[in-house]
């Protein structure tokens, strides 16, 4: 078994001379959820289409599930499942018919397709609407049906393009839990295109941040934070805003970079979290009671927006794309 479900190098694609993806190099491990993050037009969907052999790159190579997506696209697509951003259901058919038709196009026989489709619709809470035409379905119901369709053939690799866009909070939670269970219980590999950072944070072990078709960061949030920042932050709760004297005392501790007051104490930027005991000692020496000391880990949002800021500083982002939403 390959150590990577997906590996691509220098993937480049233009549409009518306009670059959509520029030299993308990433990999996805078996059983991993990789989040492709970025604003609209960053190249996330293009990446997904390229890696499933729907689009052919201008440059670059890729191996997906051990196959060449362009020379062996049909074979690859037998083993992948896709949830497109728009559910892509035919409104003239019922939910069950949409699934059975797709199953037949995947080569399943009709009776097996009906059984499998029925099971999946039940699992996604759509069993009661199986024989209803999709025309009257809400966005959430369509997403559920489309997700069921993507899982019909029990794919090894799932491409999910904005799986929770347009969903209400309860439906979002359900879909996120379902994706998590697919990887945790069934070991499926997922490439998740999203601009919802909360969703990515809950599901993805690594993330690739794209802007204007270029990869600007790739790794776990911790790795990226370590690459982005040489310091960390410690939150001190002393029951009220830190006095000037205390801030001076904290700033004097090596290797503190900066100490700023907060409503309940101070936020101290330090070169290493190992300095925490020294900070507590400085507080005690200043006659201040310490209620709590919390090293503040960099969040996915911190990482994403820092990457975005640096990308913009490099002049590669024109700022027109919609920003990801922290949820």
């Amino acid at each position: 078994m390959s150590t990577r479900s997906v590996r691509c190098e220098g993937l480049t694609k233009s549409f009518e001379g306009e670059p959509a993806l520029d030299g993308l190099t990433i990999d996805v491990r078996p059983g991993e959820v990789l989040a492709l993050l970025g604003p609209n037009g960053a190249g996330k969907t293009t990446t997904m289409r390229l890696l499933n052999g729907v689009l052919t790159p201008d440059l670059g190579t890729a191996t997906v599930l051990g196959l060449d997506p362009w020379a062996q696209g049909t074979e690859l697509r037998r083993r992948t499942g896709v949830l497109t951003e728009n559910a892509g259901l035919d409104e003239r058919f019922t939910a069950l018919e949409n699934l059975v038709t797709t199953a037949e196009l995947r080569g399943m026989d009709r009776s097996a397709a009906r059984v499998r489709a029925g099971e999946l619709l039940e699992r996604f809470g759509m069993g009661h609407r199986a024989d209803a035409r999709v025309q009257g379905f809400s966005t959430g119901q369509r997403k559920r049906v489309a997700l069921a369709r993507a899982l019909l053939h029990d794919p090894e690799l799932l491409y999910l393009d904005e799986p929770t866009s347009g969903l209400d909070p309860a439906a979002t939670r359900d879909v996120v839990e379902l994706i998590a269970s697919l990887t945790a219980e069934r070991g499926r590999t997922v490439v998740l295109c999203t601009h919802f950072l909360g969703e990515a944070g809950k599901l993805a072990s690594r993330m690739a941040v794209l802007f204007q078709g270029r990869l600007h960061a790739f790794g776990t949030p911790d790795q990226l934070a370590a690459d982005l920042w040489s310091d960390t932050e410690v939150r001190l709760d002393v029951g009220g805003p830190a006095s000037t004297e205390l801030l001076v005392a904290l700033a004097a501790v090596e290797p503190v970079v900066q100490a700023v007051p907060t409503d309940d104490g101070a936020l101290v930027r330090v070169r290493s979290a190992d300095v925490t005991p020294s900070l507590v000692r400085a507080c005690v020496a200043a006659g201040v009671d310490v209620h709590a000391v919390t090293p503040r880990a960099r969040t996915l949002e911190d990482v994403y927006f820092e990457v975005e800021a640096r990308a913009q500083a490099q002049g590669t982002d024109d700022g027109l794309g919609a920003r990801p939403v922290a949820t």
Partner: protein
């Protein structure tokens, strides 16, 4: 994985059949597709023989003056019949024939415009492109999805037309006068060729535009001159020998095959995916 089919080198007919079931099922459920497909054939193939038959039975219309205006060589087959039969022979036997070629063209145009452009409009094309269907199988199934309804409507329509015309005109004719050999060649050889010709144009147009309306407008502009050309020659085909009809059909088939083969070569997933 359950019940999947192993990869085959040739056309995957199982997938093509599944796609046809899907597309034909969708046509049956869509009033926007079904009504135009049935309206014209009903008018041409049911109402027209009814009205002509009734007029001939009542002996209210004489065609001798009209026949005098046409070249003698062409009207000879009509004039060889008794005067009471001439209206029926002229209209139902010859003049309706060109209209029969409009039926397969129109049906193929309606269904073909709904193929790729319709998939784009309904936002189902991307899902389709992500399925394990080879480009040529996808193209072939879309072609057949247009060709089969056009041919079936033409053939069923003709059978209906012939039955109705024979029944209504029985009091005047006293015999079964349709179908003739020339009609049979026209319906079973030339009409499918015309449908294939229309598809050759319309499917390619459908891959290039975003809506069925655009496809119909653009496709109509290309197909209409062909229709006029074909229709203009059809009565002549019936008035001449069957060999001419067979040759004419072969020419249309050749053009249709050329257009469709070129279309199949030009159709790639990447091209469709780039237009999503």
């Amino acid at each position: 994985m359950s019940a999947t089919v192993p990869r085959r080198e040739g056309t995957d007919w199982r997938v093509v059949r599944a796609m046809l079931r899907r597309d034909l099922g969708a046509i049956v459920r869509s009033k926007a597709l079904l009504l135009p497909m049935l309206f014209l054939p009903t008018v041409l193939l049911v109402l027209l023989p009814l009205s002509i038959g009734l007029a001939a039975n009542g002996k209210t219309v004489r065609v001798e003056r009209a026949l005098e205006l046409l070249p003698e060589r062409l009207v000879a087959p009509v004039l060889s019949h008794p005067p009471d039969e001439r209206l029926i022979i002229l209209v139902l036997g010859y003049l309706v024939a060109p209209l029969f070629l409009i039926v397969p063209l129109m049906v193929s145009a309606v269904t073909a415009s709904d193929t790729f452009a319709g998939e784009k409009e309904r936002r189902t094309l991307e899902t389709l492109l992500h399925l394990p269907i080879r480009d040529r199988d996808l193209y072939l199934s879309k072609l057949l999805g247009g060709f089969l309804p056009a041919t079936i409507v033409s053939w069923v329509g003709f059978v209906l037309y012939a039955v109705l015309a024979n029944i209504i005109c029985w009091p005047v004719m006293g015999r079964i006068f349709l179908p003739t050999w020339k009609w049979t060649i026209l319906i079973f050889w030339v009409a499918p060729a015309v449908a294939a010709l229309g598809l050759g144009v319309m499917v390619r147009v459908s891959t290039r535009v975003d809506t069925t309306q655009e496809a119909q407008q653009l496709g109509g502009a290309v197909v209409l001159p062909l229709v006029m050309l074909a229709v203009g020659q059809t009565t002549g085909l019936l008035l001449t020998g069957p060999i001419v009809s067979i040759v004419a059909g072969a020419v249309v088939w050749a053009i249709a095959a050329f257009l469709n083969l070129r279309g199949a070569k030009a159709f790639t997933r990447d091209r469709m995916g780039s237009r999503l």
